[in-house]
Symmetry: C2
Amino acid sequence: MIQVVTEGEVDLPREAVVEVVGRSRADGRAPGGVEVQATGITVLARPAVRLPFDISKPVLHASLETVLDHRALSLRHPRVAAVFRIAAALAGGFREHLTAEGCTEIHTSKLVATATEGGAGLFSVEYPGRPAYLAQSPQLYKQICVGAFERVFEVGAVYRNEPHETARHLNEYTSLDVEVGFIDLDGLLDLETGLLRAMLQAVQARAAGARETLEITLPSFDSIPRIRLSEAKDRKDRLAAHGLTYKPEEDLDPAGERLLGRVFAEAGHDFVFVTHYPVPARPFYALPDPAEPAVTLSFDLLFRGLEVTTGGMRIHDYTQLRENMARFHLNPDSFTGYLEAFACGMPPHGGFAIGLERLTAQLVGATNIRWATLFPRDLHRLEP
Amino acid sequence: MIQVVTEGEVDLPREAVVEVVGRSRADGRAPGGVEVQATGITVLARPAVRLPFDISKPVLHASLETVLDHRALSLRHPRVAAVFRIAAALAGGFREHLTAEGCTEIHTSKLVATATEGGAGLFSVEYPGRPAYLAQSPQLYKQICVGAFERVFEVGAVYRNEPHETARHLNEYTSLDVEVGFIDLDGLLDLETGLLRAMLQAVQARAAGARETLEITLPSFDSIPRIRLSEAKDRKDRLAAHGLTYKPEEDLDPAGERLLGRVFAEAGHDFVFVTHYPVPARPFYALPDPAEPAVTLSFDLLFRGLEVTTGGMRIHDYTQLRENMARFHLNPDSFTGYLEAFACGMPPHGGFAIGLERLTAQLVGATNIRWATLFPRDLHRLEP
């Protein structure tokens, strides 16, 4: 943003692209403190249509639908673009922190022959000679890679063919995946705590302008509280007052998450780890707690009342894994390449996945995840 | 790798996972110069099967087919894993250099409603209510984003449904994409030259061990020679001696690329930019050279005789772009969201895409791109 002064009139519509030759001078009244006295202006491109809406105001007055329908224009609004500058800083901080922690970046295939976690929610792809699907997660691949690299991460697209029509679900999103060997549940929570701190520092360091544009405050914390799901449910007085009850085998539903987030926010915590989800609430590879086999050594991270991470320890023993697959009615023959890693010996390991768009949306206070997705895909939207 | 000495015998098969407690002491004869005198060994996991091949030798004696069939085991061989440590360093160097150059990272959708560059080579996806495809490239999206962020990059999967059965093609690969505004062809080549230097420095800094394991020498250069395609073809004496001739409208075919690479390698150049490809050899968005409209302001980068980058300047004028789409028999109605960026005014811009697996394979001297792909996808392989 720079202020340019010309002699005489220049015919310049909004969004015209120009090359300016001139002399700059300090001027405290100009944006950025600099003004350019133009001696020549060349128009490099001129809009060919009347702009569908005005992007010159500090706040964009357009519905989410309009913003997404006209992505090429809406992205040029500083407040719209700022969200993605923050997302870029978060992803950069994620990778650089994990690289410094000795993790190797991997790129695994998104075209798979088998569902990662059971058959539901898959997109079919027409592949020569056989059925293929879009991967719901790099879960099985990142586990295989732990056997070779010990600590890995991946940033990539994942796919959910689900009929959800909510403000927090998409058919395609960016998953920030981590998987590390020789770790335990507390170690995983420590790892994510340090990682989040590094990601927020990256936002402060590289997207300070975007943060100011959006007028947001970054969370700051030394540690993140950890609470067992059963304890969370035991806060019955608090929960019941809001008309909420849980059965022991249940997952935390969205309303419960929001409430729990509120309870912790009132105590000054933006983040809370909820741990030890029951076995039926987690996938087949989740490691049951040896001390209490009805629950798994798993966790979700809630950020201001929204789940932004799911993770936990995984079963690393071959026999136990095969038995658990049977319990989940999965056919081991569909998982040959995955099971081989365990048959060849695997270290204890665990990991987690952060939804980049959810984390970004929550950080900027967006009411819908689509505000934090460049080109969202859902039941109704495949373009642009 | 560490040498452990025990008292008495321990039953430890290869690939067993162990926890060792003991005392370390310097020993020049041990790998890494350290030996551990064990006081306790706990077996955390034991292979459940006889390993399908031996990974304890310095060189893995197994065919590519076997290596890929048994990915979970083959990846544990130091020479196999080293290739991916180098790929990770290349990708990290790519992002960090471009971030320092003021580029914003983007994540664009891989589920698209229209072919990027015409109808061939697309994978169909069963999407609710309408046809959808896997993106061949983020080309149109990264151009849209230049209108908002001016300089962008993306690291992501791209898809080619092609019947190729070659050592250099895959149905899915990782594309390192760049697109920047207010640049010209020479600026693009300068940008990629500095970028490649930074990526190779990242390999040296972060994957020095992998480089040593593979015994490879990293290319080093101050600049990269630039040659017009027509000049390349004019080296007729050299080319004809190898039985090769070109018609002016032709692209460089693989044999021609290898030969050109050899010609430059003999002159001490690992890399060469070949520029100004004819209009019919490039996509609809390639910018024709105003000084010679039969050729485009485009380039390929050859690395030791293999194309590892395609790029160039793009048409930024709305009318010219529409006219060129008509020339390429494309229906503008299928490109509404893309064309809007140009209708709203776009700066002159250009970009390029580097195939991560190809660059890695060429750097490590792999004879087949599959050696540089964690989980390759082709006509015959969808697992693991």
